[in-house]
């Protein structure tokens, strides 16, 4: 199978494809403009308020940042350990349940039984309002929960690596991928066993938590703002770690060319350990933030998000941390703005379709094979 040769065939094949995608994109933009202007010509146009578009975009950015944050870890394990980690989504759930357990413990200590708090309301009958976790009323609890989500998930990810993946270090990517499906089952259903299977509310509601940005017609929720700040903060920390520290350099080298990195004496196992701690921790943090956004929690929400996270990582180009973030934003915005054109039943399908189109037309991602740098 001629690599170069096929890439030329591919690009020849891709050009009509790209053209089609560009045409479709153009058409959607024209339609969007027409809708905003309130024009309607046949199937094109209609009515769409700038406010609605604005809030769609804002929601897309918030979801996108959470997905992008989760994507960083997935992208790192993909490039450094060379396998698609199907248990990554369940790390999000791990972080969410453990982190919110801690946040509840701090927020509701004394008023509500401890076992109801630690089990995120699986035990007992306290309502989310009685626990009262909210960034405005209990900021310390919410932030401590975020830290706990990062730390506990990092530990779980590391434990999974030692138990499940380390013995398979030299195996092919597909074998490890299958093992990761096994790991995903173990984690997801351990969560179900411990925390129960019902979907339940987590955050309390607080008066005046919406901040209105008048001129843009945007109404921004305090939790959304928290998510944006936390996600961007973690991403910046990640950026400095990669660019400024020895560990970051080693990680980039490993992601770029594993064999070469090993030859030059990079301590592979230490880099792998760091990858799990950081990637797992970020996954846990993003799972925690996702619950902050949605306000509810369920044992398998991370697994259901996994495909969206994969979509983000693939869109950004596997192996690139910045690509994962950018991919997350694109996926988030596709997810929320697609409802302008299609029924909301399909917004997830639209995100997957974008991912599949990307894989078929440009498998190297938006930024074409630039790895973690």
């Amino acid at each position: 199978m001629g690599t170069t040769e096929s890439s030329i065939v591919d690009s020849a094949r891709a050009r009509p494809g790209l053209l089609l995608v560009a045409l479709l994109g153009g058409l959607l933009l024209v339609d969007l403009a027409a809708k905003l202007a309130g024009l309607s010509v046949g199937p094109v146009g209609g009515a769409l308020s700038a406010d609605r578009l604005g809030s769609n975009l804002w929601n897309g950015v918030v979801i996108g940042l959470v997905v992008g944050l989760a994507g960083i870890g997935l992208s790192m394990t993909y490039s450094i350990l060379s396998f698609a980690n199907f248990s990554h989504g369940d790390l999000l759930s791990t972080g969410a349940f453990t982190g919110w357990g801690v946040a509840f413990l701090i927020a509701g200590f004394g008023d509500v039984p401890v076992r109801a708090l630690l089990s995120v309301r699986d035990a007992g009958s306290a309502s989310a309002g009685e626990v009262g976790a909210h960034i405005l009323s209990t900021p310390v609890a919410v932030l401590a929960g975020l830290v706990a989500a990062f730390a506990i998930t990092a530990a779980v990810a590391l434990a999974l690596d030692r138990a499940f993946y380390k013995p398979m270090r030299d195996r092919d990517g597909i074998s490890i991928l299958i093992a990761s499906i096994g790991a995903a089952l173990v984690v997801r259903y351990a969560i179900q066993f411990v925390y129960g299977s019902d979907r339940r509310g987590v955050t309390a509601s607080v008066d005046a938590s919406n901040l209105a940005f008048g001129p843009l017609g945007l109404s921004v929720n305090a939790h959304e703002l928290t998510i944006v700040v936390a996600a961007i903060g973690l991403m910046l920390a990640m950026h400095f770690m990669l660019q400024r520290t020895k560990l970051g350099t080693a990680m980039r080298a490993m992601a770029d060319n594993k064999d070469l990195a090993l030859v030059t004496g990079i301590p592979a196992e230490r880099v792998v350990t760091a990858t799990w701690i950081i990637g797992g921790g970020l996954a846990g943090a993003s799972g925690y933030l996702y619950v902050l956004l949605r306000g509810t929690i369920q044992f398998d929400f991370g697994w259901l998000l996994l495909l969206l996270i994969f979509a983000a990582v693939i869109l950004g180009g596997i192996g690139s941390v910045y690509g994962a973030i950018a991919g997350g934003l694109v996926i988030g915005i596709v997810f929320t703005t697609s409802t302008i054109w299609i029924p909301s039943d399909f917004n997830e399908a639209a995100a997957f379709a974008v991912m599949i189109t990307m894989l078929l037309l440009r498998p190297e991602g938006l930024f074409g094979g630039v790895s973690t740098a």
Partner: protein, 445 residues
């Protein structure tokens, strides 16, 4: 020459048969494959009897029915996946989606245009529906395969998973249902799903499928085993009739795949799985062959979807066609050892009975024995500091534990026995016997 062939024997791995008694041993090996499958079923039946004999014959036969049905449908799905993954190394984790396409298409084609309830269909005969179901699964497989098979294996995995989810989300969507009704006059039923056409096997036992009016054949069977004789309920007996049909399909799948495997086509697949560049350099059109095998596999998955879910009265997209279903099938193939058809059948049976149904039944039986209130939550069970209460909680919540067990087994197999139960048997990829030199070849000495 004799020297040469006997030295070949010595070097040959143990699973190769010595030439002297080839024919006899070959027969024995063939018998033992069938024996293995039947023996496994026997063990399963024994366990089922032990679990339910106290409740009477009807319960025993009923449990055996459930286990056999699941074992056979998983065997079918595992065989179809084995063709793609075991033979050609194509990592398709969209199995659930292709099964959904098959059964939904069949339902839409066969359902009455003017049903009493549920979405309308085209009202065509069942065979047309089955063919259409396989065709749609094959066409979607083709559309996916044409570009996606050029991708790396893990990308193919993600694309197929994405397709399977897109299929499920479409079937789930009421907007899509409405769209179909407006444009084609048929529907999917959205999240509520759709009722399946009557199983023709039922007509074999009952006139027009009406419970009160058995056919001559039905009369005979019900008379011998039925409520008035051995006490087995009619519905269980009819289900056994369908199980016979499923068994016939398992045999047909098996023969089909064995023939494919033992042919130059299978040889090329084996080569592609090992090294695409070599196959390519020897004049094999690798892309074309991969597309072919992917499409055949998808059509078979569509058929399995029909045979499995089409017989269950009602289908709905969630949770029936969640990706978990795909992973079940994968576990079945992996247990049996990818690449081995016998292994796939065996893996399907073992998965469905021992791993899927087993823990639930055992859990329920244990729960019956424990005399304690079930704590309302894990935290309460732990806080109670009472092992009995915890056991009561665990046995009442055996489903998640079962999934944890499945996950651990998957990891364990990948660690210790990546070839599965039977996977170390590498099957011959030729339409002729290769275990010894044909006598004609030695004349040039």
């Amino acid at each position: 020459m004799t020297d040469a062939s006997s030295s070949g024997d010595r070097d040959a791995p143990a699973d190769e048969r010595p030439e002297s008694a080839t024919a006899a041993l070959l027969d024995a090996a063939k018998r033992s494959d069938l024996g293995l499958v039947l023996g496994t079923l026997l063990v399963v039946y024994l366990a089922a009897t032990v679990l339910t004999f106290a409740d009477g014959l009807n319960s025993v036969v009923g449990l055996m029915r459930t286990l056999t049905f699941l074992g056979l449908v998983y065997a079918l799905a595992a065989l179809a996946l084995n063709l793609q993954w075991g033979y050609a190394g194509l990592f398709n984790i969209g199995v659930a989606g292709f099964m959904a396409l098959g059964v939904y298409t069949m339902g839409i084609v066969v359902r009455s245009p003017d049903p009493a309830f549920g979405p309308p269909g085209f009202g065509l005969p069942l065979p047309v529906g089955i063919a259409a179901g396989m065709l749609v699964a094959a066409v979607v497989g083709l559309l996916a395969a044409l570009p996606a098979l050029r991708l790396k294996a893990d990308y193919l995995a993600i694309v197929t998973l994405g397709i399977s989810e897109i299929v499920r989300l479409f079937l789930q969507s009421s907007a899509f249902d409405t769209f179909l009704r407006d444009s084609l006059g048929v529907g999917t039923g959205g999240g509520r799903g759709m009722g399946m056409p009557r199983n023709p096997v039922r007509d074999l036992f009952l006139v027009d499928g009406q419970a009160g009016t058995p056919t001559a054949f039905g009369e005979l069977v019900f008379g011998v085993f039925g409520e008035d004789a051995l006490g087995v309920s009619n519905s269980i007996l009819i289900d056994w009739g369908y199980i016979a049909v499923l068994a016939a399909f398992v045999i047909a799948f098996y023969v089909l795949l064995e023939r494919l495997g033992r042919s130059p086509f299978g040889r090329t697949l084996k080569a592609i799985r090992e090294d695409e560049l070599v196959a390519d350099s020897l004049g094999k059109n690798v892309d074309l062959i991969k597309v072919k095998v992917f499409v055949i596999g998808c059509a078979l998955m569509g058929l399995v979807g029909i045979l499995w879910f089409g017989s269950q009265g009602n289908v709905s997209p969630t949770p029936q066609f969640m990706p978990l279903l795909t992973f079940y099938v994968f576990i079945a193939v992996i247990i049996g050892g990818s690449g081995s058809n016998t292994g796939s059948v065996l893996g399907g049976i073992v998965f469905a009975t021992v791993l899927f149904e087993g823990p639930r039944r055992v859990g329920a039986s244990v729960r019956d024995v424990i005399d304690a209130e079930t704590p309302p939550s894990f935290a309460d069970a732990v806080a109670a500091l009472d092992p009995t209460a915890f056991l009561a909680f665990a046995t009442d919540n055996v489903a998640p534990l079962q999934f944890i067990l499945l996950g651990l087994i998957l990891v364990f197999i990948m660690h210790r026995r990546p070839d599965g139960i039977l996977g170390d048997r590498i099957e011959t990829a030729a339409a002729v016997d290769l275990s010894e030199r044909p006598s004609g070849g030695e004349t040039d000495e």
